[in-house]
């Protein structure tokens, strides 16, 4: 088998980012935002996107300076070996926890919404097995996969949103600022970490065709993801109104159960495959990043071989909580709040260190 460690172009990069971060609208992220911001939740992504500009500016700035290097090398160079290793290990742990939590939630969605009788372990094992297979094929394949299905996934999402807005009531967006302007801003800022994936993206900065591709890719996908998340949150509100939507754990799946298409009364299964494919891409990518970081930390050259082992580990970790619908939800909220400062401050720290070393001038 010819192993490819090639570079990915802007199309693949943007496709992966859109599908990894964009799928957050279909898990319990909206539920977290709705709980804090009620019917103004749709402003959340917009504000988060706007606030993310600051760390992302520093991040792209640093990585355009160090051409062809990824987060791993840059951190070690800027923070020195002992500190750098500690920070990176911490990032790896965060990434691992994120994969565990997210995959557990998704397995729960599949189990509760579509396959009530199938044992969770089987569903989980299939999910992670396929993602491990995809991740092991390499970044290029994950990127190409994302690009080749992106159009169809977005078409299905567009259809869902279109039907939702047609059946929804636009008056439900009032009162415009929900619990209040200050509240909205505060909870947006504390949930900044919804976009923390961008930080992990810099792990593959060196694998993009050029630093310009990385920079452009980040900005393009930030804009698309922000708008996509915002519109989907808006659609949930106009369909359910703010009180019921607060009680839903997975608003997207409730939405596609609620809407209908002319002669087809139940169309949630129509969207299920597209959502699943996006899911496979998301976790393939996460697994790849996690293995990449692990391989860098512990000097494993062929880190692709770690992926099946890591995937198995995540399956068992994710199986621990017995009622993920509630326990994970309660766990994820503080977790998101905890990462927020890291996502915000870490790029700034890198930039300051780079400035201090005098690399920024040249």
């Amino acid at each position: 088998m010819e192993k490819s460690r090639g570079k990915i172009g802007i199309r693949e990069f943007v496709a992966v980012v859109i599908l990894t971060i964009g799928t957050k609208m279909a898990d319990d992220t909206p539920a977290i935002l709705f709980e804090q911001m009620e019917n103004a939740a749709w402003m959340g992504p917009l504000l988060i996107g706007a606030l993310s500009i600051i760390p992302l500016y520093f991040l792209t700035n640093v990585f355009t300076k160090y051409k062809g290097k990824n987060l791993f090398e840059v951190t070690l160079y800027l923070l020195g070996k002992p500190v750098g290793y500690c920070v990176l290990f911490f990032l790896w742990v965060i990434g691992g926890i994120a994969i565990t939590i997210d995959s557990s939630i998704y397995t729960d969605i599949i189990g509760t919404m579509y396959f009530n009788k199938t044992p969770t372990l089987v569903l989980y094992a299939i999910l992670m097995g396929i993602c491990a297979y995809g991740a092991k094929k390499g970044l290029e394949q994950v990127g190409s996969f994302a690009w080749s299905v992106l159009f169809w996934i977005k078409v299905s999402l567009f259809l869902a949103l279109f039907l939702t807005f047609r059946q929804g009531n636009m008056d439900f967006i009032y009162p415009f600022f929900g619990p209040g302007k200050w509240e909205v801003l505060k909870s947006s800022a504390s949930n900044l970490s919804i976009f923390a994936d961008f930080l992990f993206l810099s792990l593959i900065a060196g694998f993009t065709a050029s630093p310009a591709v990385f920079k452009k890719g980040i900005w393009i996908s930030l804009v698309i993801v922000t708008i996509e998340l915002s519109i989907s949150l808006l659609s949930f509100v106009v369909l359910f109104d703010y009180e019921p939507v607060k009680m839903l754990n997975y608003p997207f799946h409730e939405t596609i159960r609620y809407i209908n298409l002319e002669f087809l009364p139940n169309i949630e299964t129509l969207f299920f495959p597209f959502w699943l494919v996006a899911l496979f891409i998301r976790f393939s990518f996460y697994l790849y990043l996690n293995a990449l970081l692990f391989g860098g930390l512990f000097r494993v050259k062929d880190f692709e071989y770690l992926i099946p082992t890591l995937a198995t580990l995540f399956v068992f970790l994710g199986m621990i909580p017995e009622t993920p619908t509630f326990s994970i939800f309660d766990f994820r909220e503080p977790f998101l709040k905890m990462i927020t400062p890291i996502f915000f401050l870490f790029p700034c720290l890198l930039w300051v260190m780079s400035k201090a070393k005098g690399d920024m001038k040249t």
Binding site: Y114, T118, E140, G143, S144, V149, N266
Partner: protein, 525 residues
């Protein structure tokens, strides 16, 4: 590690190194390596021994006297593969009637192609190719005149890649004819036809065709290297050669394109691809091949823009129907019945009520029956061909439903999938799609749409990791390369100005401008 376990399992090494009681042929090899002597009789004796004359019926030795020189001479040829009339006109007559004394053989013999050879082995190669060897008393050279005349059929219509609008002629089993058909379409001195002998015993020849100032020479060397690496006694035709040079022999998906249409081959040549031809093969191998080259037909470009793209859209639809129809039916009826409109659901369940088998068994029964009809229909002698059609349609369609073995819905689903599979013209891709359909059905029957999507994802991941001579399978769609953007749909003819960038052609633009030597293409963004 994994390799060694497999080797142990299958005793691969053991078989390769096994000792057989073979005949020692070193003596014969030594004879073949020696040079021709000046003694005519000695020479003829050597060749009589090698060819087992007179047991060997069609190998002839014709002795005669060259008048002018007063020397004895002999012609050695195989009459079934040589043109004897030509031999008589151009070699025998002029030589035997010649009265001058100082002319050389080349001056007397009127055949257009003549060359001198000194080693027994080389003489043998030429004779086996249908040429005649002229031995002259006292001469250390053997004169080879090209008079070969192999029998074969003429140029026919393409049978497997039918087009309505466009050239109809197809390759046949003669390599010379095939090369002539290609040269007819590409009239340039840059079209190179290289020949290479690939097998050790049967001495089969492969012709490598490429356009010298377009092709990427690195790619060309890769192809040549792979062809020369083959170490076998005989490779009869391209279909066998394909299996020797392809990258993944156990893969479901083909990575080398086979076409019987010279127009298709020539359009690939003009894009910088490399083409292999062989004697005895009514077709050509095109490499590297991407998924799209299997998906396209030549007619897509012969039809006008909209019509061509309409057929492309139909073919894409057919591809998806073939892959997913049965699997979708299974997963929807078994796992996601709520998805169907109530009336349809009732209709399906009322026909299924009296059927004894579970839906999965039903689908498998019909799928296998369809594949059987297809295979049997292909092998059946043409006089009883229609019978198969009647038996297939009546027994498997009508009677199976009446006997409550399958439900009418399943007949529709399977027939639709089977019919659609014929829209994928390339035989390699056709098999690949039909076989992967079974994997999808299996997964759908166990896990419904979840299994179906999972299997589809694995398949797509696998396809994306395939490479044909270093070219990604889905190029130029992903990863992106500069190209004519001829993927699912094609663009307008005058918008296809670039050759495919993944081939790294020496001239990227298809427009008339001469390339200025700057490195073009390859630029992926």
């Amino acid at each position: 590690m994994r390799q060694s376990i497999f080797q142990k399992l299958f005793h691969n090494e053991k078989y390769k190194n096994q000792q057989f009681s073979e005949k020692d042929s070193s003596e014969e090899i030594a004879v073949k390596k020696q040079t021709i002597s000046t003694n005519l009789n000695e020479n003829l004796e050597i060749f009589s021994k090698l060819y087992l004359i007179p047991q060997n019926n069609d190998v002839n030795i014709r002795r005669f006297l060259v008048q002018g020189w007063h020397k004895e001479a002999a012609l050695l040829f195989i009459n079934t593969i040589s043109d004897t009339n030509l031999l008589e006109e151009q070699v025998l007559k002029p030589l035997s009637k010649n009265e001058g004394t100082f002319q050389s053989v080349e001056d007397i013999v009127t055949a257009p192609g003549i060359k001198r050879v000194q080693v027994v082995e080389d003489v043998l190669i030429e004779i086996n190719r249908g040429n005649a060897a002229l031995f002259i008393e006292g001469d250390q050279q053997v004169y080879i005149t090209s008079v070969s005349n192999f029998q074969g059929r003429g140029i026919d219509k393409a049978e497997n890649e039918v087009v309505i609008k466009g050239p109809k002629e197809a390759f046949n089993e003669k390599a010379n004819t095939n090369i002539s058909l290609l040269r007819k379409k590409i009239k340039t001195e840059s079209l190179i036809v290289e020949s290479m002998t690939i097998s050790k015993r049967s001495k089969n020849e492969v012709y490598v065709l490429y356009i010298h100032d377009l092709v990427d020479h690195e790619l060309l060397n890769k192809v040549k290297e792979r062809v020369t690496k083959i170490n076998v006694d005989s490779i009869q035709n391209l279909s066998m050669l394909e299996q020797h040079i392809e990258e993944r022999t156990k893969s479901l998906f083909p990575t080398i394109l086979y076409t019987e249409r010279p127009d298709r081959a020539s359009s690939f040549l003009e894009d910088g691809y490399i083409i292999l031809l062989m004697e005895n093969s009514p077709g050509s191998l095109i490499m590297p091949a991407t998924f799209w080259s299997f998906f396209h037909t030549s007619e897509d470009h012969y039809l006008r823009f909209i019509f061509g793209n309409f057929t492309r859209a139909l073919r894409l639809l057919a591809l998806f129907i073939t892959l997913f129809s049965s699997a979708l039916y299974l997963s929807v009826t078994n796992f996601h019945a709520e998805m169907l409109p109530p009336d349809l659901l009732l209709a399906i369940s009322s026909t299924r009520e009296i059927v004894a088998f579970p839906a999965t068994i039903e689908i498998f029964l019909m799928e296998i029956a369809f594949e059987l009809i297809r295979e049997a229909g292909l092998r059946v002698p043409s006089p009883i061909g229609p019978t198969i059609g009647i038996v297939g349609a009546l027994i498997l369609g009508q009677a199976a439903v009446q006997a409550n073995v399958v439900s009418p819905m399943v007949v529709i689903i399977v027939a639709l999938g089977g019919l659609s599979s014929f829209a994928i013209g390339d035989i390699g891709m056709n098999f690949a799609v039909r076989l992967s359909r079974f994997f999808l059905i299996l997964c759908a029957s166990v896990f419904g749409l979840y299994g179906l999507t999972a299997m589809f994802s694995i398949g797509l991941f696998y396809l994306l990791s395939l490479r044909s001579f270093g070219v990604p399978y889905f190029a130029p769609m992903t990863p992106k390369y500069t190209s004519g953007n001829d993927t699912v749909f094609r663009s307008l003819v005058w918008n296809e100005i670039f050759r495919p960038g993944y081939l790294k052609p020496q001239d990227m633009k298809k427009t008339g401008d001469v390339s200025n030597g700057e490195k073009q293409g390859q630029n992926r963004n």
